[in-house]
Structures are given as structure tokens and as C-alpha cells.
Symmetry: C2
Subunit: 209 residues, 2 copies
């Protein structure tokens, strides 16, 4: 055996990433193993370690693609709404919906940990930032007087909140009280937070700061 040269290094990486993503959506996180990916693309396990440092690196590449898909979904959901509050609500709904539709992909993005406490690479972190950053423009519109730091802080607080409701919903820790839909919780959280944010800002401006 040895030496087939059917595919370039880059092609093998691509095949592996696609196969891994498919395994996760079809059989969940536990369904993704190095041996299964290798089998799916017609190579031996060893070959995988010729093109990836380890399984973590492969998972990271799957995650960054799913993160991009999530970003696209959220962006597109917000696009038809020029007003800040409807746009932010649309963002939140799209975020939750992506989680509901691609639960395993969603969970792998946010729950995967690097082994041995390794750090996530910058090209992954920047995708996370890009997603969070989406909130800043509408919030700035909502608070025209606010400083950049205030807006960034509000964006993180609100997105963190949205994320939490999604996490609890996807792990079935919220469905205990029946008739509570995650959709409603999300809207409740976002609307009241934004109301509070605006009234706080009004109070500040009135006080002459």
C-alpha cells in the first residue's frame, strides 16, 4: 500500500471536514471519531494525522464553518428590519432557531473544549467576535448618546443573555415548566433589557451627563 496521491493535502482536509460535519449532524457529538471520519473519506486513521495535528484541530474547522453559517443566518434574519429593536429581536430569534435546527452543531461550537488547556486559534476567536459584534450597531442607534464602551458592554450582556436562554432550552433545562416557550423567554429578556437600557440612558442624559 501507500502512495495513492488521489487527493492533495488540502483536498483530504476538505473531505475530512465535510465528513466530520456530516457525522455530527447525523449521529451527534459522540458519533464523531477519527476512525469514522477516516473510513468515511476512504483513508486510514493515520492519514488524518498527516493533515491535522489532532482531532481538536479538525473539530475547530468544523466549528468555524458552523459558526459562519450561524452568522449568515443571524445577519439575514436581521436585514429586513432597519429599526434597532426589531432587528435585535430578529437576531435573537435566528440565533435560537439555528440552535433548535442544528442542535449538535450548535453545541459543538460552544461546548467543545481544547485538550490540555490549549488555546483556541485567533481565526476561531475572531469569528466569535464577529457574531457578537453584530449587536453593536443597532444598540448604538438605540443609544445615540452612549460611548463606545457602553455599547460594547450592552452588546455582550444582551448576547450573553440570549445565549443562556438558548443553552438552557437546548439542554432541556427550561422545558420543566411547560408552556414556557424559549421564543417567549427570549423576547421577554430582550424587550425588558432594551427598555431598561433606554430608560437608564434617558435618565443619564436628563442628568446632563
Amino acid at each position: 500500500m501507500g502512495r495513492r496521491n488521489d487527493h492533495s493535502r488540502e483536498e483530504i482536509r476538505e473531505l475530512a471536514i465535510l465528513a466530520a460535519a456530516k457525522l455530527v449532524t447525523e449521529h451527534g457529538l459522540a458519533g464523531l471519531t477519527a476512525r469514522k471520519v477516516a473510513t468515511a473519506i476512504g483513508y486510514t486513521v493515520g492519514s488524518l494525522y498527516l493533515v491535522f495535528k489532532n482531532l481538536d484541530e479538525l473539530i475547530l474547522h468544523v466549528n468555524v464553518r458552523n459558526l459562519d453559517a450561524l452568522y449568515q443566518a443571524v445577519t439575514q434574519a436581521g436585514a429586513p428590519h432597519p429599526e434597532p429593536i426589531p432587528r435585535l429581536l430578529a437576531f435573537g430569534r435566528a440565533y435560537l432557531q439555528f440552535g433548535l435546527e442544528h442542535t449538535d452543531a450548535w453545541r459543538m461550537i460552544f461546548e467543545h473544549r481544547m485538550q490540555h488547556g490549549a488555546e483556541r486559534p485567533p481565526w476561531f476567536e475572531s469569528q466569535v467576535n464577529r457574531l457578537f459584534g453584530l449587536l453593536e450597531a443597532p444598540i448604538q442607534t438605540l443609544l445615540p448618546q452612549a460611548e463606545q464602551a457602553t455599547v460594547v458592554q450592552a452588546a455582550h450582556a444582551l448576547w450573553g443573555g440570549v445565549h443562556g436562554i438558548c443553552v438552557l432550552c437546548l439542554s432541556d433545562k427550561l422545558t420543566v415548566v411547560k408552556a414556557i416557550s424559549a421564543q417567549d423567554l427570549l423576547e421577554n429578556l430582550m424587550r425588558h433589557y432594551l427598555t431598561g437600557l433606554q430608560s437608564e440612558q434617558r435618565a443619564r442624559v436628563a442628568a446632563g451627563d
Copy 2:
């Protein structure tokens, strides 16, 4: 070998739960394996399966104890504050602090999934509900006119939000923008949400509903 009778079934379970909890806090989630637990308590792996159905059941027992510790920490943090808003803020801070101090235990509570899609037992779910339920009394005090359903919904929305900030903080997905402390985000989210909740309620009462 065989037949030692050093410990009763119940004693072995107890030893295993304590050893498992210790392994997690000392070596993280990956440090918890059936073989290591067995070795730690001076038995063979097989014995573990005489007293637990599988690893999931053992993990569940560790989780329910950590969940109780979390509940105690949150309760005690809120106790000195009779006013609803300071109490809720104290709850949130204690929740985050527990996560920061016992990160692996915290993550195992919320990220562990049952294998083969098995359901979590009721005695676990009820501990989760008890934790969420803590928010309801202060929120009811805050919104004296509100119906029970409104209060329950607000409690879940707010706790979900708090949870999300903690999750992102503990997975290092928030620290990207430096100088953003999770503490501040938490307070930002809770304060503005509660402000918004109250002003909404005032509007309702003024409208005569």
C-alpha cells in the same frame, strides 16, 4: 478473590461519588473515568457496575450534590438582602462566583448529557427547578400586581440570561474584549432587565390592566 464485605452497597456508592467528585475538581471532566474511580476507592471497575447502572448514573449523583452546593451558596448570598433587587443581584453574583470557583463541577452539571438520549431522573430535575424557583419570590415582590405566570416567566428569562453570561465567561468566549468583567456584564444585564420589567409593569397598571 471475591467476597470482602468491607463495605455495604450504600457505602460503596458513597465512596464512589466522593471519589468521582474529587477527580473532577482535581483533574477536570476528562479525569473522571470508571477505572480511576474504582482504583481510588480500592475496588475493581466491575464493582462499580454492581452499584451503579453506568457512568451516567454516577455522574448524575455527583451533579446533584454540586447542584445542592450551588443552591446553598446562592441562597446564603441572597439572605442578607431583604430588598428584591439587591437580593437578585446577590443571587446572580453567587451563581457566577460558584462557576468561577468550581468551574469543572459547574460545567459538568450543565453540559453533561445522558447517553442514548436517556432522560434525567426526576430527583435531578427537581433540584434544577428549586434553583430557578429562588428568583420567583423577589420578582413577585418587585411586581406586586403581576400574575404568577408573569413572575415565573420573568424568573426563567432572567436566570437564563445570568446563566448565559456565566457560560460564556467560563468558556473564555467573553474575555476577548478585554476589560470586560463578567461581574459587570451580569450587573448590567440584571439591572437593565429589572428596570425594564418594572417600567413595563407600571405602564400596564397605569393602563388599568
